[in-house]
């Protein structure tokens, strides 16, 4: 039911869409003809077991990997994403699981990494960078000792807040979060989840990968389930149960894959 709404033009046009995405690493088919839609201003949870292809999908969107086949559309227009800066241009920003920050540099430098404000071609405008970084963190109410502190001196939660700040600074409409809370404690996880909800409240579309179904049912609008590189289910939060999602993840019930993928059943 949910599926038919997504597949047909009944709903609004997806803001971000992937069609027929496949990606193989050697003999491993990480993604097999996957369709994926994100609507404007929604908080989408991407779930699945280890090796289901979640991170691969996110990395294709963020320009780290290139898909073997398939197309990406933003507002219905096809976009080429071949490197991270293509993704930035398409309005896609990513918060990585493994905290891709530079420990020996300050908070502002990390937030503006790759997008530093300059004077002319070669001079760094550090004053503007510090001011902008404070403004970016301020929009989310993130409070750090100072934007001039090295990231090495921050806690795990603070670091993830910096990573989210970096995604925001990119002006991304779409913010992808690859297990943003995997390395955090309980309280800090709670705070990152609050930040995630705030991002949606500010009009961003957020895709987040997680293994924690409690979080999914706390904050997500829709849930996409991947299994063995295929999309086996798309559910609105209100129309499913935790049990159904677990069954889809583990393959205990047959997913929707036979309707979407050449009629093949999931093994």
């Amino acid at each position: 039911m949910t599926l038919s709404m997504d597949r047909n033009t009944a709903g609004p046009q997806p803001a971000l869409e992937m069609r027929g995405i496949s990606k193989a690493f050697g003999h491993v088919q990480a993604l097999d003809n996957v369709d994926f839609e994100v609507h404007a201003g929604e908080l989408l949870a991407l779930v699945g077991d280890n090796g289901a292809g979640k991170s691969t999908l996110v990395k294709i969107l963020s320009g780290v990997y290139r898909a073997d086949r398939g197309d990406i559309y933003v507002d219905g227009a096809r976009v080429q994403i071949e490197c991270p800066s293509d993704a930035t241009k398409a309005g896609i920003a990513t918060v990585y699981q493994d905290l891709n920050l530079v420990p020996n540099r300050d908070v502002a430098s990390n937030i503006y990494l790759g997008l530093e404000p300059t004077r002319g071609m070669i001079l760094l405008n550090r004053a503007k960078m510090f001011a902008d970084a404070e403004a970016v963190l301020g929009t989310l109410g993130i409070k750090l000792p100072s934007v001039k502190v090295d990231v090495a001196d921050l806690s795990g939660g603070q670091r993830q807040a910096v990573a989210i700040g970096r995604a925001l600074a990119r002006g991304g409409r779409f913010i992808l979060m690859d297990e943003p809370t995997a390395s955090l404690g309980v309280e800090q996880t709670q705070l990152v989840n609050e930040l995630t909800v705030d991002l949606r409240a500010q009009g961003h579309s957020v895709v987040f990968i997680t293994h924690n179904l409690a979080h999914v049912f706390d904050i997500a609008d829709r849930i996409v389930v991947l299994r063995h590189g295929r999309r086996v289910g798309v559910r609105a939060r209100g129309e499913t149960t935790r049990e159904e999602i677990v069954c889809l993840i583990t393959g205990a019930i047959r997913g929707d894959v036979d309707q979407t993928c050449h009629g093949q059943a999931v093994p």
């Binding site: 963020s62 780290v64 490197c83 991270p84 800066s85 930035t88 990513t94 990585y96 891709n100 920050l101 530079v102 420990p103 020996n104 540099r105 430098s109 990494l113 790759g114 997008l115 530093e116 300059t118 070669i122 001079l123 760094l124 550090r126 404070e134 301020g138 109410g141 993130i142 409070k143 750090l144 000792p145 100072s146 934007v147 502190v149 090295d150 090495a152 001196d153 806690s155 939660g157 603070q158 807040a161 970096r166 309280e187 800090q188 705070l191 609050e194």
Partner: protein, 340 residues
């Protein structure tokens, strides 16, 4: 210490502003490494001043500066490469090859300034070759520059051919770079060194290149996924190092009036020692021009003072090694094994 006043938006673990950490935070602003270097430099100088009546003479101090200058300039280029996580072993081979090329050009009738420009460009090109091997060729910096170092020495041999004592210039040729004195008494090499330090400091502190040099040295993967063109910036650091070494090669030629294929051989390790002493780690991401300058000065003072006090050469080697290992060891201890 927090910048945002506490209010509705306060989120406790983010917002507690690390009360416990604030003392540590404040102590970080005291740069222990730099303080240690200055203390070492002052201590050494005080010792040699008491041991030799000649040490504190202006003429001797200028001498230390002039002798440190060539190594100091090379060290600035090496600092930039190493902060970005690279390594350049070709520094002295570039000096030598640039000297050979320039001397050959001068004795075959090229105007001195033109020969110098071509020599400098040769240094830049050699740095570019290193940069290409490391970035496009994906060869480890140690391996890449070890190979090119050998090739450059070989080329210098070819230019030298069968001239037993290298390529010698006339006494009055090419003296403006290092032999003439500025304003009557200031040795020109010292001026060049200060200028090179100024340029290096400016690059690392105020330019986009400097920003990326530290970021790439800190975490090159993070830079890559953030859209930083890591290869381009790395390549540029090697070009800069080639230019710095090339300029030092011109100075050496001007100072000695001779270019020969063994020039400055082995000095690359001394220069690297000065850079590491100054706080640049092999892993990259830390250190800077001021530290490198202090490191070069400490080794220079040590050399000069031990010569003035007629300390045997083997003690000079041992003292240099001891200072290096103690300073790096203390720095590692203080950090508790580093933060990564």
């Amino acid at each position: 210490m927090s910048l945002v006043p506490s209010g509705v938006h306060e989120r406790s673990p983010f917002g507690s502003a690390d009360r416990r950490g604030s003392l540590r935070q404040r102590l970080r602003f005291v740069d222990w490494m730099m303080l240690g270097l200055v203390v070492t430099l002052v201590g050494l100088s005080a010792y040699f001043a008491s041991a030799s009546p000649y040490f504190l003479r202006v003429e001797n101090l200028l001498n230390i500066g002039a002798h440190g200058a060539i190594r100091g300039i090379v060290a600035i280029g090496l600092t930039i490469v190493m902060v970005a996580g690279g390594l350049d072993l070709t520094i002295t081979a570039v000096m030598c090859a640039v000297g050979m090329v320039t001397a050959e050009l001068i004795i075959t009738g090229t105007p001195e300034w033109l020969a110098a420009v071509i020599g400098l460009a040769t240094g830049g090109a050699m740095g570019a070759a290193n940069g290409l091997l490391v970035t496009k060729g994906r060869i480890q910096p140690v391996v890449a520059t070890l190979s090119t170092m050998s090739i450059m020495r070989g080329v210098a041999f070819i230019i030298e051919r069968d001239r037993a004592r290298g390529v010698s210039l006339q006494l009055d040729q090419f003296s403006f770079l290092a032999r003439d004195r500025f304003a009557g008494s200031m040795p020109t090499p010292l001026i060049w060194w200060l200028l090179a330090c100024g340029i290096g400091f400016f690059i690392l502190r105020y330019t986009v290149l400097g920003q990326y040099v530290y970021a790439i040295g800190g975490n090159s993967d993070a830079c890559r996924v953030s859209g930083v063109r890591v290869d381009l910036w790395r390549f540029l650091t090697y070009v800069l190092s080639g230019l710095a070494s090339g300029f030092a090669g011109l100075m050496l030629l001007s100072l000695t009036n001779t270019a020969y294929s063994q020039a400055a051989m082995g000095a690359e390790l001394d220069i690297m020692a000065a850079v590491i002493l100054g706080g640049v780690g092999l892993g990259g991401g830390r250190g800077g021009v001021v530290g490198t300058m202090l490191g070069t000065l400490i080794l220079g003072v040590l050399n000069n003072g031990m010569t003035l006090t007629s300390t045997p050469l083997y003690w000079q080697y041992i003292a240099r090694g001891a200072i290096l290992v103690v300073s790096v060891g203390l720095d590692t201890l203080r950090k508790g094994g580093g933060y990564r």
